[in-house]
């Protein structure tokens, strides 16, 4: 869902839904990496049955990461993806099923969003490249040094779209990866793996939902399956709720703001491309052997427990004295539905509902007021009761006016505050500084005369008193005179200063003034206020959209063709008379073929992913669909500040015309392209020990062409049909590695086969309710009546999955042991330093004394590393080294570590995973870097201490 704020809002409002992951990192011993044994119990005190990967959330960060240098080529990207999956796998440790879903062709409704993303991405990529080139030339001209430009062409992230060669290749690589792990990884040995690659239509998360929905609807499904879904999209939360499975957890990478990004030119941290100076890289480690290790650890993962969210929601939505029976499940569905008003991928959000302004809370309140009158819930199993929705919308409409007014007030006061702040900052010195004997002096500048203790305190005090009496008239003036001296071109300078109070984008709509509705329609839709018919049409489309989206979440794609044909939403108050609007959708619609969809979402600049004659349609002036491919397009900031936040006014694709135009070029496809263009299905893999394996092998031996039902008893109740796969992975056949870095699998035991979800009649309605036999997980939240029922016991909040988890605890003796075992200065020093401001560090003699105390809190925090980024900007070891280099004794140790590191160095593959061995926290580095911009680099980086102390 295109609502980044949604997750933030949710996790603030319902903090207990978040549980930090406990991740076991691979250990290293004498330079040999010992992989994590995922068959061991899960360190998170919970066992998951199924893990679903929404692969696009993995592919994007692995192919064009924001916080580390981009992989050099496609092979490295693949390896990065494999390792990311490994990491996830080791955290979640699914016991029954791993389902990987790559985004396939999406419904038409999503196309405009995809278009706008890709059109922008293409332009941004181009601009970044130009900027890079410019700076590069500048630097080289100045004699700076830059690593030679790689030969590889710019990675166009647009290739992560179904139908491209990249995606095809990715699917191949994943097949290899699965086979490899099934053969070699003990954690995978009993696992069923399903891969739904980009050729299977549907967005990744919705393919997953479809799978779950269909499994739930068949009798063999285990209602207490514990699902874990990986992905960062906010709509996964909705989807998870929509399944009504009692045990559903989402895992995602924790978002940390302000991660340092490496410069795209020289790959060093600490500056951006435009500030790159081409300075030589400082050596990492004494002989630069640490150069390839990333200066920051990877992001941490968090679990999002939907069952806890359900508890919260139950509490929030429970209403007394309803005229109809209260049902948590139904009211959760309504809640999900209302969240769609605030934003989703398929519809623009209502102008009055901003998640940052507490729109959901407002909706819930309105909902609770109105639901008494509605006579029932808004939705049922994904179908909307429009009459009731209308009541909600009109209730929102009533307050719309005041919302807009308030928004304006808030903005104004924010701007005022900002302005004042800027003014303060500009003055460059505090409004008041004490003078006389109280004049502040820099520490250490002992010899300066002002620092002397007043020889005659009484006299000094008197002088100060006198001064204060006279100063009000003088001192402000003088202070201003000092920095505000008029320059010869004073007039111009003044102007320049004013201009930094940036001109706000002009807002013609002025929602806070009377007549906003007319202006909105005029400005956004270019229709007159009187055009009732048009407004009605917009509302009709929006209502259809709401119905479509809800259906999409609860029942699957109702129509592949439907889309919302406007760039903006109507007002809530326009939702009059919607009760009788039809919400039926055309049946039997077909998704686009992958290449067709590429034509629909790519700008002409990304045409290189398409066959030449197809590409020509995007740029040829005589093309009959040239209007789909503008070179530049308008962006309506719509009250936002940055171009990427605005609404891209791109034309909508006319499916009929697109298909008509493509008909002519279809014959130009090569067989290979034809294959890429075809819609595929899911593939199921099992390893040697899986009970299904023999069944599948039997199928291959008989060579039956008919689809065969999956025997659910062999496979934890999974149902569906098998059909033979022509490119199957079969035992004793070598699985060729598509990545040159990795070896072929010669001793393969895994087997793959085509898998199809169980099918249901077209008008089958998937019930949105708990299944019979499902046990609710134990409650996590503090009961509302705890004070009464607890007999004075104190409530202990639950932090992890397990209420009885034993907190980690180190006693005195343990610390003593640690102090002995850990090498001096390696792990511990990091933390001692962080606890101390540098000024305290005047002498070495401090250290031994402090270690014992400062260590403890920080050690504890290491047990919950997730907290650490909030901590004070820790001081970096570099600083410490400054001292310790002088203090010779540490040097031998220093050298030893480095040598050892040098030993692993050649092993590229390990080093990529290596950051795991470098856990302490990126912030240590960053803090150090900030505090010591340049000086710090003169000293070699310390060894990755965590490897020794904590793993």
């Amino acid at each position: 869902m295109g609502v980044p704020a949604f997750f933030r809002w949710l996790s603030r409002k319902y903090p207990s839904i978040i549980v930090n992951c406990v991740e076991e990192k691979p250990k290293e011993c004498n330079g040999v990496k010992i992989p994590v044994d995922a068959s061991k119990p899960n360190p998170n005190d919970v066992e998951f049955d199924n893990l679903y990967l929404d692969m696009n959330g993995i592919i994007h960060p692995c192919t064009h990461p924001e916080d580390k240098p981009a992989p050099k080529n496609e092979d490295e990207m693949m390896v990065a993806i494999f390792e990311y999956i490994d990491r996830l796998f080791n955290i979640v440790r699914p016991r029954r099923l791993l389902y990987m879903a790559i985004d396939g062709v999406a419904p038409r409704a999503k196309m405009n969003q995809q278009r706008s993303r890709r059109f922008r991405a293409s332009k941004e990529g181009m601009e970044a490249a130009v900027e890079k080139q410019r700076v590069r030339e500048e630097i080289l001209a100045k004699g700076g040094f830059l690593p030679p430009e790689e030969i590889k062409e710019r990675f166009d992230s647009n290739c992560i779209t179904p139908g491209t060669e990249f995606m095809d290749n990715l699917a191949k690589c994943l097949r290899y990866y699965i086979a490899d792990r099934l053969n070699n990884d003990p954690g995978w040995k009993n696992l069923t793996v399903i891969l739904s690659d980009a050729s299977a239509p549907g967005e990744g998360e919705h393919k997953i939902m479809d799978y779950i929905r269909r499994q739930r609807a068949q009798p063999n499904h285990d209602p207490n399956t514990h699902h874990c879904l990986c992905g960062a999209d906010a709509d996964l939360i909705m989807l998870g709720l929509a399944t009504h499975e009692p045990n559903f957890t989402i895992i995602r990478e924790e978002f940390k703001p302000n991660k340092p990004k490496p410069c795209a030119l020289c790959n060093q941290f600490g500056h951006e491309v435009k500030d790159c100076e081409g300075l030589p890289r400082e050596k990492k480690g004494k002989h630069d052997e640490l150069a390839d290790s990333l200066p920051c650890a990877e992001g941490e993962f968090i679990f999002l427990r939907l069952n806890v969210l359900r508890e919260y929601l139950e509490r929030e939505l429970t209403m007394a004295s309803l005229p109809f029976p209260f049902d948590v499940e139904r009211s959760i569905d309504d809640w999900v539905f209302m969240c769609f008003f605030v934003g989703n991928d398929f519809l623009p959000h209502l102008p009055s509902l901003e998640i940052r302004e507490g729109a959901i809370d407002r909706l819930v309140n309105i909902y609770k007021n109105v639901v008494h009158k509605t006579g029932g819930y808004l939705t049922e199993s994904g179908y909307v009761n429009l009459q009731r929705v209308q009541m909600i919308m009109l209730a929102v409409g009533e307050v719309e006016d005041s919302i807009f007014k308030k928004r304006k007030d808030d903005e104004d006061s924010f701007r005022r505050r900002q302005k004042e702040k800027r003014k303060r900052m500009k003055r460059d010195q505090p409004a008041f500084t004490p003078s006389g004997i109280l004049t502040p002096h820099a520490l250490g500048s002992r010899n300066s005369p002002g620092c002397q203790v007043a020889s005659n305190p009484r006299q000094a005090a008197y002088e100060m008193r006198m001064q204060r009496n006279s100063s009000p008239s003088i001192s402000p003036n003088t202070s201003f005179a000092s920095d505000g001296s008029p320059s010869p071109l004073g007039g111009i300078k003044r102007k320049a200063e004013d201009s930094d109070s940036e001109p706000e984008p002009e807002d013609n709509v002025r929602l806070w003034e009377a007549g906003w509705k007319q202006r909105y329609y005029k400005n956004k839709f270019d229709v007159d206020a009187a055009d009732e018919k048009f407004r009605r049409k917009v509302v009709q489309s929006y209502v259809e959209g709401l119905c479509w989206v809800l259906r999409y979440y609860y029942q699957g794609c109702a129509s592949w063709k439907w889309y919302y044909p406007f760039h903006y939403a109507p007002f809530a108050s326009d939702f009059e008379g919607i009760a009788d609007m039809s919400s039926e959708f055309e049946k039997g619609t077909k998704p686009f073929k992958p290449l067709e969809q590429l034509m629909g979402v790519f700008p002409a600049a990304s045409g290189n992913f398409l066959p030449p004659t197809w590409r020509k349609l995007m740029s040829d002036p005589d093309s009959s669909i040239i209007d789909f491919y503008p070179e530049d397009f308008a962006i309506d900031l719509n009250g936002k500040k940055y171009a990427w936040q605005g609404v891209a006014l791109l034309p909508f694709v006319d499916e009929r015309r697109l298909r008509a135009a493509l008909e002519e070029v279809y014959p130009d496809l090569t067989p290979e392209e034809n294959r890429r263009n075809s819609l595929g299905g899911d593939v199921l893999f099992v390893g040697k020990l899986h009970p299904l394996r023999d069944f599948i092998l039997e199928l291959y031996q008989t060579g039956s062409t008919e689809p065969v039902d999956v025997p659910p008893e062999l496979c934890h109740g999974i149902q569906g049909t098998f059909s033979l796969d022509e490119e199957a992975i079969l035992p004793d056949q070598t699985v060729c590695s598509p990545v040159p870095m990795l070896r072929d699998l010669t001793q393969n035991t895994a087997v793959s086969i085509n898998f199809k979800d169980p099918q249901f009649a077209e008008d089958y309605v998937f019930k949105a309710a708990m299944l019979p036999g499902a046990r609710k997980p134990a409650t996590v939240l503090k009961p509302g009546d705890w004070e009464k029922s607890s007999n004075g016991r104190q409530w202990k909040p639950q932090l992890g999955f397990n209420r009885d988890r034993r907190p980690v605890h180190l006693d005195q003796a343990a610390f003593r042991t640690l102090g002995h075992v850990t090498p001096r200065g390696s792990g511990t020093s990091v933390y001692t330093n962080t606890a101390l401001p540098p000024a305290n560090y005047q002498g070495n003699n401090y250290r031994p004394l402090l270690r014992g105390q400062a260590q403890i809190p920080k050690l504890m925090s290491n047990m919950r590393p997730q907290d650490s980024w909030r901590g004070p900007p820790p001081l970096f070891q570099q600083h410490r080294f400054e001292r310790s280099v002088g203090a010779e004794p540490l040097l031998p140790w220093n050298r030893m570590i480095q040598n050892q590191n040098a030993a692993f160095q050649p092993n590229q593959y390990q080093m990529l995973g290596g950051p795991g061995g470098y856990p302490p926290r990126r912030d240590d580095h960053r803090g150090g870097r900030q505090g010591y911009p340049r000086e710090g680099r003169k000293y070699p980086l310390p060894p990755p201490s965590g490897r020794y102390s904590w793993n």
């Binding site: 111009i492 270019d526 048009f534 049409k537 044909p565």
Partner: protein
């Protein structure tokens, strides 16, 4: 637009047909304009003859698709703010000529947004002008403000009308007709209506067609052309397009058509071929109208045959062909007549435009083609010119557009030429500034600048244009009533200003220009600027460090001044 709806009400089939091309979610307004676009250009689509119809039906649907695509592209450009590759832009703008769009929305494109952010190092001369090129009025905008019906005074109407005339040849010849996008159809065209049907026209047409006979062998037969057809076509034309010229064209093409279908084929093939008769200039417009007359503007050749003779249909097709072919004759003949009227110095290039008078140019071409056309014509022209209020100003602008593509590219030579002068000017200005005590708001910047330039025996060129007529105008201007002023010297751009009055605008512009001289050095550079919706190169005076990211749009085409 009104004619269109009238026409459609009379032709329900066409109406029904065209309605199928409407998009989901298209507003009435957008659709009205796009429909006009479609109908205007639909004529090109009608197949050549009945025999070939089947074979061509595929091509026809393709052409239709293309037309729809162009119409969408145009609508996207005007209403959504999209920009397409230059070729496409030229094409759609020329196709859209004559369509009057009132108050199209204003958008900021992404590139402009990004440029705005990146800017900051912008040349000082532009800071004060509120970064005009940032926001861009869709081209249709000019015209929009120019609606004659509303009695607004408009310098542009005529220009646009003139362009409309010219556009057809330029389109055919695939030169870019810059033409500022769209042109408001002047109300004067209404007067054509009568004339279209008049006998005189007919005769003219036939004659013209005979002139054009270089290509079409038997065009002489054209005379036979059935009066009824002509009538029909004429009336349609007038209702839809209201261009007397067009009717002539139909006429002539009719004739040609009949003259020989083989020729036809040749014509079709030679879309780019020149050497059509003079009168063809208008053909394209006509083409559409002619076909429309048959009542199914686009597509159905069958129906056309029903209503009229096969000759008709074939006619229309030939028209289409013709439309795409250039007419050298016409231009030359036209120009020869026109040159006296036009002040422009580039007679070779369709100077007819420069007169900017629809009527005049019409007349001119006509008379040129059909030597000594009937007195009726003359009378007509008289009436036209009288009806159309054509401010003389427009001439210059119109001519620019035609002129510009003929001109050479700016080179470093130009810069070298200009630079020494500005070095001297820099010193002069510096001394003058010293004399008045430095740069300050109280100085009369205009006077100072003028004095400095005159001291060097050059002149300061000042151009004014009402703000609202400026394509790419700075929309953040609250007032639409302002005047924009552009200063040039030796055809090098110095600055732009905007104000309530001319003096005001000039003062602002001079202030901006003077600011250039406050830095260490001034340099002449070739920069891209917007000019009526497209990018052009211009010589610009900048201070040393400035990066010319965002210049205000030009008021004059620089080439014209060289």
């Amino acid at each position: 637009a009104q004619e269109v709806s009238e026409y459609l009400s009379q032709n329900p089939r066409v109406a029904a047909w065209v309605e199928t091309l409407r998009c989901e979610g298209e507003t009435d307004k957008h659709w009205r304009h796009r429909r006009e676009f479609l109908l205007r250009n639909a004529g090109d689509l009608v197949p050549a003859t009945d025999e070939t119809a089947d074979a061509e039906s595929g091509a026809r649907t393709r052409q239709l698709q293309q037309l729809v695509s162009f119409s969408m592209a145009w609508a996207n450009h005007v209403f959504l703010g999209c920009r397409y590759p230059q070729k496409v832009m030229d094409k759609i703008l020329s196709m859209a000529e004559g369509i009057k769009v009132t108050d199209a929305p204003i958008h900021t494109t992404r590139d402009e947004l990004v440029a705005k952010v990146k800017k900051r190092g912008i040349s000082s001369s532009n800071e004060g002008v509120e970064e005009p090129s940032k926001k861009r009025a869709v081209e249709g905008k000019n015209n929009s403000s120019v609606e004659r019906d509303h009695g607004k005074k408009s310098a542009k109407t005529d220009r646009s009308a003139a362009q409309q005339e010219n556009s057809s040849p330029s389109r055919g010849s695939s030169t870019k007709s810059e033409s500022g996008g769209t042109s408001a159809r002047s109300s004067s065209s209404g007067s054509h209506q009568d004339s279209a049907t008049s006998e005189g026209d007919r005769s003219v047409c036939s004659q013209s067609s005979s002139n054009s006979s270089q290509v079409t062998a038997g065009s002489g037969k054209a005379l036979e052309s059935e009066a009824p057809h002509k009538r029909g076509s004429a009336s349609f034309v007038s209702s839809l397009l209201k261009s007397s010229m067009n009717s002539h064209m139909t006429q002539s093409t009719d004739n040609r058509q009949q003259s020989g279908s083989p020729k036809k084929g040749a014509l079709e093939g030679s879309s780019g071929s020149a050497s059509q008769s003079s009168s063809e200039i208008e053909v394209p417009l006509l083409g559409s109208s002619g076909s429309a007359e048959v009542e199914l503007p686009l597509l159905s050749c069958k129906s056309s045959s029903e209503t009229a003779s096969s000759g008709l249909t074939s006619k229309s097709s030939s028209e289409a062909n013709i439309s795409s072919s250039v007419s050298k004759n016409s231009s030359s003949s036209g120009s020869s007549l026109l040159t006296p009227q036009s002040s422009s110095t580039n007679p070779s290039l369709l100077t007819s435009k420069s007169t900017a008078q629809v009527a005049a140019s019409l007349l001119a071409t006509k008379s040129g083609a059909s030597l000594g056309s009937v007195s009726q014509l003359a009378a007509k022209s008289g009436s036209q010119s009288s009806t159309s209020q054509l401010p003389s100003k427009s001439t210059s602008q119109a001519s620019e557009s035609s002129v510009k593509f003929a001109c050479r590219k700016l080179t470093n030579e130009d810069i070298k030429q200009k630079q020494p002068f500005f070095n001297r000017l820099y010193k002069t200005v510096a001394w003058k500034l010293v004399a008045v005590g430095g740069f300050s708001p109280t100085v009369n910047h205009g006077e100072l600048l003028n004095a400095a330039i005159e001291a060097l025996k050059a002149t300061l060129d000042v151009f004014f244009v009402p703000l609202k007529e400026l394509a790419d105008l700075p929309q953040n201007k609250s007032s639409q009533e302002s005047i924009v002023c552009e200063l040039r010297c030796k055809s090098v751009y110095l600055g732009t200003g905007c104000g309530k009055s001319k003096e005001n605008a000039k003062a602002v512009a001079s202030r901006e220009a003077l600011k250039l001289f406050l830095k260490k050095k001034v340099v002449v550079k070739i920069c891209k600027r917007k000019y009526r919706g497209s990018e052009i190169e211009d010589l610009v005076l900048l201070d040393e460090e400035a990066r010319p990211v965002n210049l205000p749009p030009a008021l004059k085409h620089p080439q014209e001044l060289l």
